[in-house]
């Protein structure tokens, strides 16, 4: 039986000139599991929000609609409100940001939130909450504070909140893009098991196709501003469209990006930074998260910091980049990194910001944390100006970076308005502008599409060949394979050195 019907459907967000989607014709039957693919900007999330009934085309709504989008013959926005009034959920929506989906402070209350909104009688609420918490295998009680959950656990909690409503259609918008690979695999397996039980219809948007391929039976490819360009059984569509999708950033199995060949300069690198028996602690605590770390950061070599969540990768990266204090052992910058300034302290954490930015570049996991200017070109000029370069040299470096990182057309844009991949390129460019000898990156490929990934890896390989040292904290096995000369596997409060990669 057909459940979702779109005919010539289109949506334009208020204040935008371009249509997010246009001319969509789609039929999804009850119990079907559909993966929506397309380059970023193809309106996949918009389609999910529309099916969830969250887009309001009314006069004071949030956009303009054309064509029809029906759930069992009823316009989607009315289907949602009618469903809530009748105490049943037509759709459940799982979004990508685990932090932003938690509504309440205790796990049980958070799951109960949707049931209360649907006016489920109080005596039925708690059994359904307990059932949903059990089903997602969270393993914590109702009173457990949501603030203490990891990203993966939060995503499961959000799923429990959706499942407790027993929706007929499960909608998921990149549910694993902000999780580490292990947590992502676990969530995908969990959703698979739950869908087999509930037989709910499922509409999924996800860039990492391999993780979900076993679970879906149909793939629909959307085009930015256009409609459906391919629709059919997963294997068939991926065979026909795989190469084209991969070229536009989708992670398609069999079309995965590969790292570039590294040039072997034959030059033995210099030690830039030496850690001996180093101990680091999380901000605001003295309890060590890692201790006994011995590490030489050498020019022309890349060191990957790997390990499970909570093993202290990011904390160590912050210490190595001179942003956080170490709580034991020694961290000493060596003469090649210190340069001519003889008054400079040996520990990077004691340097003034302008001495730091000249020597060590940092790339944060969320690029938006790093933006301080209102245009991309000003953003790139910040570092060079801080170290006192003449304006002609500042302009030369800025122009060079804009060119190399394909940012020329965005030079006047506000960094906050860029897409995720563009923001990543800008954040790396800002760290390179002062030509530091050491670059420290925290999960640089996190949440990136395949195209940005390949560009980033090629750029970093080029820097290594030119003699820069790289340290990167990462979960991304492909990144480690492509770049790392040394791999440091971390376990909380005990570090172990692994073999060269």
């Amino acid at each position: 039986m057909t459940q979702i019907t779109a005919r010539g459907w289109g949506w334009r967000h208020s204040g935008r000139r371009a249509w997010a989607l246009r001319g969509v014709d789609l039929d999804v039957g009850s119990g079907e599991r559909v993966l929506l693919l397309g380059p970023s900007g193809a309106g996949k999330s918009t389609l999910l929000a529309a099916v969830a009934g969250l887009l309001d085309p009314g006069s004071d709504g949030n956009g303009e609609q054309e064509g029809t989008l029906l759930l069992d013959g009823v316009p989607a926005d009315r289907a949602r409100t009618a469903g809530v009034r009748a105490g049943r959920a037509r759709t459940g929506l799982l979004l990508q940001d685990p932090e932003a989906q938690t509504v309440l402070a205790r796990c049980g209350d958070d799951v109960a939130f949707g049931l209360e909104n649907h006016a489920v009688p109080p005596e039925e609420i708690w059994p359904r909450v307990d059932g949903a918490l059990d089903a997602v295998g969270l393993g914590v009680g109702r009173d457990h504070p949501t603030a203490r959950l990891s990203g993966g656990q939060r995503q499961r909690l959000a799923l429990a909140g959706v499942l407790a409503l027993r929706p007929e259609i499960l909608l998921m918008d990149e549910p694993t893009s902000m999780l580490d690979p292990d947590a992502g695999e676990q969530l995908a397996a969990l959703v698979g098991a739950l869908l087999s039980d509930t037989r709910a219809t499922c509409l999924l948007v996800e860039h990492r196709v391999a993780m979900w391929l076993d679970l879906v039976d149909r793939v629909v490819v959307l085009e930015p501003g256009g409609g459906v360009v391919a629709d059919g059984p997963s294997s068939e569509v991926l065979e026909q469209q795989g190469a084209a999708l991969a070229a536009r950033g989708v992670w398609v199995p069999g079309h995965l990006p590969t790292g570039p060949a590294r040039r072997d300069s034959g030059v033995v690198g210099e030690v830039l930074l030496r850690a001996e028996n180093l101990q680091v602690s999380r901000r605001g605590t003295t309890e060590p998260v890692l201790s006994g770390v011995d590490l030489d950061v050498v020019s022309g070599r890349a060191t990957a910091l790997v390990g499970p969540n909570g093993s202290g990768k990011s904390t160590l990266a912050l210490a190595l980049s001179g942003l956080a204090r170490h709580t034991g052992g020694d961290l000493v910058a060596q003469p090649p990194l210190l340069g001519e300034d003889t008054r400079l302290a040996a520990e990077p954490e004691r340097w003034r910001p302008r001495d730091l930015v000249r020597r060590i570049g940092s790339v944060f996991q969320d690029p938006r944390h790093q933006f301080v200017a209102s245009t991309v070109s000003d953003e790139l000029a910040v570092g060079p100006r801080r170290i006192g370069l003449p304006e002609s040299e500042v302009a030369a470096r800025t122009d060079d970076l804009l060119e190399r990182l394909r940012l020329v057309h965005l030079a006047r844009a506000n960094p906050f308005t860029l897409s995720g991949g563009e923001q990543r390129r800008v954040s790396v460019a800002t760290a390179l502008a002062t030509r530091p000898r050491l670059l420290v990156l925290d999960e640089p490929t996190f949440g990136q599409d395949a195209r940005t990934w390949a560009e980033l890896v090629a750029l970093l390989a080029g820097l290594l060949d030119d003699g820069a040292a790289l340290v990167t904290a990462t979960h991304d096995g492909a990144l480690v394979d492509a770049l790392a000369d040394d791999v440091l596997t971390l376990r909380s409060a005990a570090a172990m050195t692994g073999a060269a990669g």
Partner: protein, 269 residues
């Protein structure tokens, strides 16, 4: 201490203490009664008696002295300078205690200063206890179910309090990132500029988070009808009425003491 510690009663409070267990609305009423009584007057006796009585009730609040101090520093920070400034600049009367050029400190201005300090403390203390011993979720339940405040407003505010903790983390990352960009070492003007930019960045990030949260809440049926059920029932028991009575009694006693001592003086008269 972060705003989170102030808001969500953390592990250092004993939630089984009688006054901690009282319905949040009852605790709120006590806070209001004391505030109204003390806002009417600025005098040492009323404020001092109120503060003494409040301190006498502390053992039943489940808030050990250490946690109380940790949470009330912000009240102290407000109370002490307010008193000192009043003693310094307030209207002079009585014997002069200290004269430094145009600034004179007199018996009258010292008394006024002490009254201001005690008053801020006496108004602040019930508020600190309320926040420290009350889970925001329980407060929201009580406000919506017992006082019938609009649940859309109450629950939206509640969800927003949870984002405060996230914002504190974001702020730290923004600070580190500014150091990494080479900013923050050129005097206070430079620092001020950096801080303004940082506030803007925090705003942008939090609006994005809040939009996602709003979408997630709406997708789970929030805001469609007023026909909502409550999984947790907030009840106003006989004991809660007693607590309110106690609070009103405390305010009345303090006022009576002020009247008896002749120091009570209606502020707006």
């Amino acid at each position: 201490m972060t705003a989170v510690d102030l808001l969500a009663g953390a592990a250092d409070t004993d939630r089984s203490a009688p006054l901690a267990r009282a319905n949040p609305v009852a605790k709120l009423a006590v806070s209001l009664a004391v505030s109204v009584a003390l806002l009417l007057t600025v005098d040492v006796v009323t404020a001092g008696v109120a503060l003494l009585l409040e301190l006498a009730c502390l053992p039943w609040c489940g808030l050990p002295a250490r946690s109380l101090l940790r949470r009330s520093w912000i009240v102290l920070v407000a109370a002490v300078p307010a008193g000192v400034v009043t003693a310094w600049l307030g209207v002079d009367s009585g014997a002069s205690l200290l004269a430094l050029g145009p600034v004179t400190v007199t018996e009258g201005s010292v008394t006024a200063g002490a009254a201001i300090t005690l008053r801020v403390l006496a108004i602040g203390l019930p508020g600190v206890v309320l926040l420290a011993t009350t889970d925001p979720t329980d407060l929201a339940d009580a406000l919506a179910q017992l006082l019938h405040l609009p649940h859309r407003f109450v629950l939206a505010a509640l969800a927003a309090t949870r984002l405060v903790g996230v914002l504190a983390e974001e702020w730290q990352m923004l600070s580190l990132a500014r150091r990494a960009r080479g900013l923050g070492d050129d005097g206070w003007t430079g620092r001020l500029r950096t801080a303004c930019g940082q506030v803007f960045a925090l705003l942008v990030l939090s609006i994005r988070r809040a939009t996602t949260l709003a979408t997630a809440m709406e997708a789970r049926g929030f805001g469609v009808t007023s026909q909502r059920t409550w999984a947790r029932r907030s009840e106003f028991a006989a004991f809660d009425a007693l607590v309110v009575l106690g609070g009103v009694g405390l305010a009345a006693l303090a006022t009576a003491a002020g009247l008896a001592a002749g120091t009570w003086d209606l502020l707006l008269s």
